[in-house]
């Protein structure tokens, strides 16, 4: 554990030196500040921010993680030649990345809201930051696993983009096309299950439950109403997102343990 913490601390400094992440935090800071200042009321700003987070966070996390694992490869190899456990090495690297990416979101989005005392939508803002952090963990973990499996940098980068495009765009496109093709069939339940099977959609539904509840109540079918009924729904979604976050990280750890450097 102490070794992992030391590695994490070192990696934190290393990542920070790239300044990449400052840009990331400043991007959210600017977007939030501008939306709160000029985008009408805070709820509206939050709606727009949600779209931005759902689109950019998975992309940034998966791309950054993929690139970073490759960049840190020599360092990792050097350290593994020393008496350093692989689990500690992986945990340290992953934690440093996750913390920094999450910090960009927490500070970038959190600060403008915090300075305004929550702007009347503090709870929903916290939820959005939470969703952003969860997506960061999911996609950073995926990026790490991907980079460990694929030694070719360019290839790994391409696959990362592909995975992101599938999760962020193609998945919903397929759902929409399928739903249209099967119009009239009892689609409520399958569509809901399919939605919860994609972490980006899951995070989106959590935000919808708080931002568009009037519209969601227009749903027929008790399963929806029950799911969308505030607290229970949010709790279920939070647990699912946590499971989603753990999955890729554990896979990455497994790959890292077995990898022949």
């Amino acid at each position: 554990m102490r070794v992992a913490a030391k590695i994490a601390a070192f990696q934190l400094l290393d990542v920070l030196r790239s300044r990449w992440l400052f840009g990331y935090a400043i991007f959210f800071l600017l977007a939030t500040e501008l939306l709160l200042r000029f985008g009408g009321d805070p709820t509206r700003a939050l709606v727009s921010l949600t779209s931005i987070v759902l689109f950019t966070v998975p992309l940034a996390a998966i791309v950054f993680a993929t690139i970073y694992v490759h960049r840190a490869r020599e360092f990792v190899e050097l350290l593994l030649a020393q008496p350093v456990g692989r689990d500690a090495m992986f945990a340290g690297t992953y934690a440093a990345m996750a913390v920094l990416l999450s910090a960009g979101i927490v500070l970038g989005i959190g600060m403008p809201f915090a300075l305004r005392g929550g702007a009347g939508v503090g709870g929903d803002a916290v939820l959005l930051v939470g969703a952003g952090v969860a997506l960061t963990l999911v996609f950073a973990g995926t990026g790490v696993a991907l980079a460990l499996r694929t030694d070719d940098r360019l290839r790994a980068f391409g696959i990362a983009l592909g995975v992101w495009a599938c999760a962020a765009l193609a998945y919903d496109a397929v759902l929409l096309v399928a739903a249209t093709a099967l119009a009239g069939a009892p689609l409520e339940r399958p569509l809901l299950v399919a939605t919860l099977a994609n972490p980006i959609d899951l995070a989106r539904v959590v935000m919808l439950m708080h931002l568009d509840i009037s519209a969601l109540m227009g749903y027929t079918g008790a399963s929806f109403t029950r799911l969308f009924s505030a607290t229970a729904g949010t709790a279920i979604a939070a647990v699912s997102l946590a499971a989603w976050a753990a999955g890729p990280a554990l896979l990455g750890a497994r790959l890292f343990r077995r990898k022949d450097f």
Binding site: G40, T43, L176, A179, T180, L187, L192, D201, L208, A215
Partner: protein, 419 residues
């Protein structure tokens, strides 16, 4: 006052209250009903009273069969005068003109599946006044049938309805005209306020909430006005049907949620005006189904699922100078084109510009989004709301409109909220 004879007092009271005066020379008395006295039931007092008398009901609980008021009387409670229906029967029937009932406390009217038992039932009379009463756990609260010129003011009706079949309406008017329904509070009934074949009636300043079905429900009730009422948390909102020349102004339609809940559902409502109302937090704010020649102006639609749902059965409606804030969908419709016109509204989604600085956007606004059409066709797809792909789709459609109806357009969108 104390020195005045009883007769003069009664006459003075009648004049002050604006009730019809008894004819000159006809003696008017006050009868006092109180528990444990010679006159211990309202029924007996009514039987003994003559037209124009006043009956004072002192505090106490009165359990007696249905009382029919068959002559013009003023019946007035003092203190907490409770008329108990013992969960078995109706309480008062008004069967004479010029009856006033005030300050009484009705409770526990029996439920019946064959007759409309009510706390106060008014049958074929003129000029009744029902004021300042409390009605608790009544099957029907106040029931006016075939009556003219009645005033129902400042009553508090709290039902305990559990399901639609075993519950009645709070204020129920059937075949009435020239009534005034003002400042009442109705909750926990089937429909808060229900009109059928009612004309020239004013409904003002009432609050109708937490009812099992509709806060307000009317049919075949031409030329009525609904002003400054609040309808909120009703299971299905407000639905009004088959009526001409309705004016609804200054009302609030708030928090009516559900797959068949509407802030306001207009079905076959012709030549009507909906002005200055607030629609907030409803699944559907205003649904126009056959609302021909409707004029909706200066309303504010805030945080609704669908601010306006327009059905193709609506012809020549006009939406002018309304505010649209934070609605998931501004206008929903089921494809097709429409003869309804939008002009001069404020849309918070509008991203246009105003080069000539006249306060009117230079580019038109199309309030129907492609995704709202998809959802109308296939409701389960709503779960994809705000997904990146859907936003992309909407963006493309907005840039190159091809599927959304071109006739639903506001050519003169306001750049700042109205008023």
């Amino acid at each position: 006052m104390r020195a005045l004879p009883v007769v003069t007092r009664a006459v003075l009271f009648a004049m002050c209250a604006g009730a019809p005066q008894p004819a000159l020379g006809q003696a008017s008395h006050t009868l006092v009903v109180a528990p444990g006295t010679a006159l211990a039931t309202l029924g007996e007092a009514v039987a003994r009273a003559s037209a124009g008398d006043r009956i004072v009901v002192r505090a106490g609980t009165y359990r007696e069969p249905l009382v029919t008021i068959d002559k013009p009387l003023i019946i007035e409670g003092v203190g907490d005068a409770i008329l108990d229906g013992e969960s078995a029967h109706a309480i008062l029937t008004v069967a004479a003109d010029d009856v006033t009932i005030r300050h009484l406390h009705f409770r526990d009217v029996g439920v019946s599946y064959t007759s409309d038992l009510a706390a106060v039932r008014v049958l074929a009379v003129r000029n009744c006044r029902i004021e300042d009463n409390r009605i608790e756990r009544a099957f029907f609260g106040i029931y006016l049938a075939k009556s003219v010129g009645c005033r129902v003011i400042h009553n508090d009706i709290r039902g305990a309805a559990r399901d639609e079949t075993s519950s009645g309406n709070g204020i129920h008017l059937w075949a009435a005209r020239d009534a005034l329904i003002a400042d009442n509070h109705v909750s926990g009934q089937r429909d808060g306020i229900y009109f059928e074949f009612v004309t020239h009636t004013i409904v003002r300043g009432n609050t109708s909430e937490h009812n099992l079905r509709y806060g307000l429900h009317f049919m075949y009730s031409d030329d009525c006005q609904y002003l400054g009422n609040t309808f909120r948390y009703n299971h299905a909102g407000v639905a009004v049907m088959y009526t001409h020349r309705v004016l609804m102004a200054g009302n609030r339609f708030v928090s009516n949620w559900g797959d068949a809940a509407y802030g306001l559902l207009l079905k076959e409502i012709d030549d009507s005006r909906v002005e200055d109302n607030e629609f907030a937090h409803n699944t559907v704010g205003l649904s126009a189904d056959g609302a021909n020649r409707l004029v909706a102006s200066h309303n504010t639609f805030r945080s609704n699922g669908w601010a306006v749902r327009l059905l193709s059965s609506t012809d020549d409606a006009r939406f002018e100078r309304n505010n649209f804030f934070d609605n998931t969908f501004d206008v929903g419709m089921r494809g097709g084109e429409t003869t309804t016109r939008f002009a001069g509204n404020y849309w918070d989604d509008y991203r246009g510009y105003d080069l000539d600085r006249n306060g009117v956007g230079d580019a038109p606004f199309h309030p129907v989004r492609l995704f709202s059409l998809i959802v109308a066709q296939n409701p389960p797809t709503l779960v994809l709301l705000r997904s990146s792909f859907v936003m992309l789709l909407d963006g493309v459609e907005r840039a190159v409109p091809s599927l959304t109806p071109s006739s639903v357009v506001d050519d003169t969108p306001a750049l700042t909220p109205i008023r």
